[in-house]
């Protein structure tokens, strides 16, 4: 039981990070109907910006950890959001009325650009940081001496994820911007006729998605303690899978999918073999998609006439 609880904690934290990235995929898909393959790399950029701003803050002599974390969070969200906006502006918007595959190809190209950009500008080496948030709590000590440990980083990751998820659910369902986004999702032409600035709304979607990816990047940096220029690829694939599993286009679905992938990977490694954890995760994805083609929480696509 203790072992199960420990693995549950491991899985939830991993799933939270996947979920945060998956939200970016799902939001963009919901509104413009394209898979933003560069999103994993935006996440990587977010991690790098968090690292750089962290190093800058430490070098100017700041030592209060909560203040550092808050500033790093805001800075990386802001700058990564700018990246998201720029990517949409130069790589996707000019192709919006082109054939369906064009923006997707452009996204793959953008992914290469971002990877190589950070490889050239930041170097090809792994960038580690010393543990920033240390310590933790012993939740339960079993009879066999097995200790269920919850580290402070894990608490920070999960709480940040919950707060952000709440914030963005509120944004989409209660604000003017959210209403515009939902309108564009249903019918862009009609939304435009009714006075919604479609271009601006789509830009904002990319900005929000990138900001969330930046948070994920920062959590990744805090949790694993390193970033590198190719980390966006694997994380991106996993998060994309999570988005599809949850039902692409659905915000809570992305989070649920992320948690599901994280938990499957962890529990498979815990009770079966670590070697086949990815096989397990993707097999379950296939099984789910056979019986629920739109994913766990996705709505069937209605052909618009």
């Amino acid at each position: 039981m203790d072992y199960f609880a420990q693995q549950l904690i491991n899985g939830l934290v991993l799933g939270s990070i996947y979920g945060l990235i998956a939200i970016g995929y799902t939001m963009v898909y919901g509104i413009v109907g394209m898979i933003n393959f560069a999103h994993g790399d935006v996440f990587m950029i977010g991690g790098f910006i968090a690292l750089i701003s962290f190093l800058v803050l430490v070098s100017v002599g700041l030592t209060a950890v909560p203040v550092i974390l808050l500033i790093v969070l805001l800075v990386s969200m802001a700058i990564t959001a700018l990246y998201g906006w720029t990517i949409e502006r130069i790589a996707y918007r000019p192709l919006r009325h082109s054939f369906r595959l064009a923006p997707m190809l452009s996204a793959i190209g953008m992914s290469f650009v971002l990877t190589n950009f950070s490889q050239v500008s930041q170097g090809a080496r792994v960038k580690p940081v010393p543990p920033i948030i240390t310590g933790g709590y012993t939740l339960h000590e079993g009879d066999s001496g097995f200790v269920v440990q919850l580290s402070n980083v894990q608490i920070v990751v999960v709480i940040t994820t919950i707060v952000l998820l709440g914030l963005f659910t509120w944004l989409v369902s209660r604000t003017r911007l959210g209403r515009d986004m939902r309108a564009c999702e249903q019918d862009q032409t009609m939304a435009a006729l009714l006075g919604v600035d479609v271009d601006r709304t789509i830009s904002m979607t990319f900005v929000i998605g990138a900001a969330l990816a930046a948070v994920a990047g920062m959590m990744y940096l805090l949790y694993y303690g390193l970033v590198d220029f190719f980390m966006g690829f694997v994380a991106g694939i996993k998060a994309f899978t999570a988005a599809v599993l949850g039902g692409i286009g659905s915000l809570p679905g992305a989070m649920l999918g992320g948690l599901a992938i994280g938990l499957i990977e962890t529990f498979w490694s815990a009770y079966f073999s670590v070697e086949y954890k990815d096989v397990a995760a993707f097999s379950i994805l296939i099984v789910v998609l056979i019986f629920m083609p739109t994913g766990l929480l996705g709505r069937p696509e209605v052909e618009k006439v």
Binding site: Y3, Q6, Q7, N10, G11, V13, L14, Q119, A124, R125, V126, P128, P130, P131, G136, T138, S144, G145, F146, V147, Q149, S151, V153, Y220, Y224, G225, L226, D228, F230, M231, V234, E265, T266, F267, S269, A270, S273, V274, E275, K277, D278
Partner: protein
Amino acid sequence: MKPLKLIGLALGATLALSTAAFADDITIAVAGPMTGSESAFGRQMQNGAEMAIADLNAAGGVLGKKLALQVGDDACDPKQARSVAEKLAGSGIPFVAGHFCSSSSIPASEAYADSNVLQITPASTNPLFTERKLWNVARVCGRDDQQGLVAANYIAKNFKGKNIAILNDKTTYGKGLADETKKALNKAGVTEKMFESYNKGDKDFNAIVSRLKRENIDLVYVGGYHQEAGLILRQMRDQGLKTILMAGDAMNDKEFASITGPAAEGTLFTFGPEPRNKPTAKAIVDKFKAKNIDPEGYTLYTYAAIQVWSQAVKKANTTDAKKVMDTIKAGEWDTVLGKLGFDAKGDIKQIDYVVYKWDAKGGYAELGGKGS
């Protein structure tokens, strides 16, 4: 069409010019992971090679010609290693010091063999490298069957009756080393409680760490590279595990400590006796230090690989790979690592692995030896 052809001609002419400029030099190559997660070791190799070439040129070069260095990047990826090897072989170089990862050195060696290129690896320890009866390969480091034996003896002696786990990353090097260690351990009468593999490149090892915790593992032996081992160690400490981590020679870069932080303390690994402390290396080490480079890990091994080749070339009076290789295997060579002789397979005759330990300050030292 015509202007296009002209441009092609012009391009061809400039290319010809640029190689012509080096026609009087002998170009040799160093190949290894200059990018990617193992790039710390690629940099060690490049540092060693650059210093070796500078020193040889300062002493008049070989066969009356200056040496030039070409750098190949395999990113520790077998496919890329093969294509880099073909590219290097195609440019007509006689000698490559490389690669780092065994999974790169092995496929690359076949391409070199086909194109008459001699390959000495400073770092690839998988036995298979020299076991395939290729004429063109040699190494200046030891082998994993020897390394695994030393690790196993240490474990059997110091962790008698404790719980042992063995992990590997499924690469040629990691799996090979883990298998050799397991074999030697079992022979010594120790049975491991857990034998698992993980994916190289993974970042999240929490699930596996919890398993180690459930099995009350006292020592985990990792056949793998420093990045994953560092993350495993860090996540073990985060989960409150005091388990000691032991690994192979891929742990000897300070980058390991920058990943783990102070958690590195107590981590064990096997490597040849500290090359920086050898009397034959003193002058070279001082030269590196003057350039603010710490010649750790495989830096001096790469230097030695180039020394062996250059001395054999002088003796054979040719750069022809086959003749040079025969000369290398017939003689004994003075290197920064001391005198090196080679057997018929291309392995060095004098081999000894020792156990190192990381300290809390981000350095490591031979157990019972001087620190770095």
